[in-house]
Symmetry: C2
Subunit: 100 residues, 2 copies
């Protein structure tokens, strides 16, 4: 990863049944975060390791800390967290990577 | 991520003092895993989120599950786990991503 770049990731599980329409609807809503300015390399992923209980992941990159903070403060991000994440995600862990 | 591709990641903390030579030596040894056949997009990363206690990460990609299993079974990987990982890593979590 290049010097100031940050890869923001979050693994999570949903309240919804596996393979359900509501699960799919949540993941489609999450995909919309890709449109927020500063978000690069956005991915909605399946988490497949048998060594943890998380089922999904989001991964995105920011050019620097300022772009990351702009994303966090963006109304579309805040709305997604308040209207979807808080009520539909049962467990999650945020992991952020930078070059060393 | 393309269909069969797997992104294998692990976040971890070390027994060593932050910024110490022994920490650096461990991370350099980890970097050698990149030479194992099938390993792509290998990265040794700093974990920078204040929301967890992990300090480092490894990220790599495999073309498919067979390449991932070949890596796991490779003598250089097994030796690294036995000679370094088990005695120098205090906490870790493996997270594997695939396309959905």
């Amino acid at each position: 990863m290049v010097s100031d770049r940050i890869r923001h990731t979050v693994v999570f599980t949903l309240i919804h049944q596996i393979g359900s329409d509501r699960e799919d609807d949540f993941l489609q809503a999450a995909q919309q975060l890709a449109a927020i300015p500063g978000v690069e390399a956005f991915e909605v992923l399946a988490e497949i390791s048998p060594k943890n209980n998380y089922r999904f992941g989001l991964s995105m990159e920011f050019a620097n800390q300022a772009a990351y903070e702009q994303y966090n403060a963006h109304p579309d991000h805040i709305r997604f967290v308040q209207e979807r994440w808080l009520s539909e995600v049962t467990d999650f862990l945020e992991i952020d990577y930078a070059a060393r």
